[in-house]
């Protein structure tokens, strides 16, 4: 295929992508955010069990997200920062996944998670307006209004309503597996808490989210899926985390950031133990991040939003490759 033929169907979307990025930078500039650039090649990658960082030479990895370095900038006193950068996640290929993709990540300190939720709603509406002239996105031919306040649902609510499963967040894996099986969902060989949870989520909740005609912020995630989020003061079984879903596309993940160095180390060690038990790589803990938390961080909140997916939504693309200059198999 010639370059001309390959690119022709994408030209309009690549133009829209450029306008979306300009609108995005304008959005943050208007709110006094500082655009930062942190290294893509790091000495300690994310340790979450379901993220596979790509190695980049001895003792080095490519980031799966710039979160560790950006939190160190918050510890250094920066208050409103954002970054648009490439992130890399091995073995992720699909209609909504590319193993090299573009993320926009932003943080506010001091701030609560609500402010990040408000930013998210405003940013998506503004980018849609810049590209399409109205705060509406399009998925699989359906129009979704992103200009009004987005619907808030807790994980417990959506799991109860669509999977028929009661999730507390801190129950043992066996108890959750029994509840999932009782709801008529085959858990197969899943034994870990998160695998059982996501078996039910993928089977029942994902399709329900895809049918919803309004954007959703899915809040109050079980503490076992806490990653870098702090526990909710109101309910220690859940964390301050939301995921933004628009037309079934998982657009962003946000945390009320964990700032406690002791709990952070405990979670890193638990991740490493879990990785070892599954036979996965066990890279080093980012000691400089832990030290930065010990130095002291104000209450803060941050989010990672998939730029390619945002461009898909504002251009009505069905496949992530439609908004990329080159998909992995075109190199």
């Amino acid at each position: 295929m010639t370059e001309r033929d390959r690119l022709a169907p994408r030209l309009a979307r690549l133009g829209a992508r450029s306008r979306a990025l300009a609108a995005l930078r304008g959005f943050f500039a208007a709110r006094d955010f500082v655009e930062v650039e942190t290294p893509l090649r790091v000495r300690a990658p994310a340790l979450e069990v379901h993220l596979a960082a790509m190695t980049a030479g001895p003792g080095a990895w490519l980031i799966t997200s710039p979160e560790y370095q950006m939190k160190r900038l918050l510890a250094g006193g920066m208050e409103r920062i954002y970054q648009v950068c490439k992130c890399f996640r091995a073995d992720e290929h699909g209609r909504h996944h590319a193993d090299e993709f573009t993320m926009v990540e932003w943080y506010r300190a001091p701030a609560a998670l609500d402010q990040i939720a408000a930013d998210t709603e405003a940013l998506v509406a503004e980018v849609a307006r810049a590209v399409r002239g109205e705060p509406v996105v399009e998925i699989e031919g359906r129009r979704i209004d992103v200009g009004r306040p987005w619907r808030r649902l807790t994980v417990a609510e959506i799991m109860a309503e669509h999977a028929g499963v009661t999730v507390r967040g801190d129950e043992p894996a066996e108890e959750l597996a029994a509840a999932v099986a009782a709801a008529g969902i085959d858990v197969g060989t899943a034994t870990h808490w998160d695998d059982v949870f996501f078996t039910a989520f993928v089977e029942r909740v994902d399709p329900a989210l895809a049918r919803m005609d309004e954007p959703v912020l899915l809040t109050d995630w079980p503490v076992r899926l806490g990653a870098l989020a702090r526990r909710s003061p109101a309910n220690p079984a859940v964390v301050e985390r939301f995921e933004a879903y628009v037309g079934g596309i998982e657009l962003a993940n946000a945390f009320g950031e964990l700032t406690d160095p002791v709990e952070q180390r405990t979670r890193f060690e638990a991740d490493l133990a879990s990785r070892a038990a599954r036979g996965l790589a066990t890279p080093p803990i980012d000691e400089r991040l832990v030290a930065a938390l010990a130095e002291g961080l104000p209450p803060c909140a941050g989010i990672a939003l998939g730029v390619d997916r945002l461009v898909m939504l504002v251009t009505g693309a069905r496949d992530i490759r439609d908004v990329l200059t080159f998909a992995a198999d075109e190199l």
Partner: protein, 189 residues
């Protein structure tokens, strides 16, 4: 064993003892969770389609199935004999397995036979067959609308509903998926 990275269209796997074919798949990965491959499988024996979410790390068992190009040779009662076009090996398949299209099979018809654990389990005919009408009420000239039909018998003995203008000796095209008349065709000179 296959794992989720092997999933692609046409992959043949064993689920609950039955052979399935992957017809569609999509990579999904919920936030902070394991990757799944949402996969649609078609049962190669019944045609029924099921959907399963296969978690990364789960295994799929390969199905011992093989498609072979075979030629229909002859029918004896309810048994149809086919010959492998490469090995010339012959196998006998009951008409029951083929269903109604068995009555549309003429000698030498090329077919695809699906074997599961070395046994024939399904026969796919060409989508269209061309058969001569051997018995029908006389044709009604002028009525070419095709809306009104009459029964006609074709050379294999099958009875097919045809438009009124069809006559004995006409060659007709029949869809083997529905066993229905499609159109009248010119006989080769």
């Amino acid at each position: 064993m296959y794992d989720t990275s092997d999933i692609r269209k046409g992959l043949k796997v064993l689920i609950d003892g039955n052979p399935y074919n992957v017809v569609e798949f999509q990579f999904i990965k919920p936030g902070k969770g394991a990757a799944f491959t949402r996969t649609k499988f078609k049962n190669l024996l019944t045609g029924a389609v099921i959907e399963r979410n296969i978690r990364s790390g789960e295994k799929l068992e390969p199905a011992n199935v093989e498609e072979r190009d075979m030629q229909f040779l002859y029918r004896e009662g309810d048994d149809l004999t086919f010959m492998d076009q490469k090995s010339y090996e012959q196998v006998s398949i009951s008409a029951e397995l083929i269903g109604d299209p068995a009555d549309l099979m003429k000698d030498n018809l090329p077919c695809t036979v699906l074997f599961f654990n070395e046994r024939p389990v399904d026969v796919t005919l060409p989508t269209f067959v061309f058969l001569e009408v051997t018995a029908a009420e006389p044709g009604v000239r002028g009525d070419t609308s095709g809306n009104v039909t009459k029964p006609a018998t074709v050379e294999t003995g099958a009875e097919v509903a045809v438009p009124l203008f069809i006559n004995i000796g006409d060659l007709i095209k029949i869809d083997t998926r529905t066993c229905e008349y499609v159109e009248r065709v010119k006989k080769p000179a």
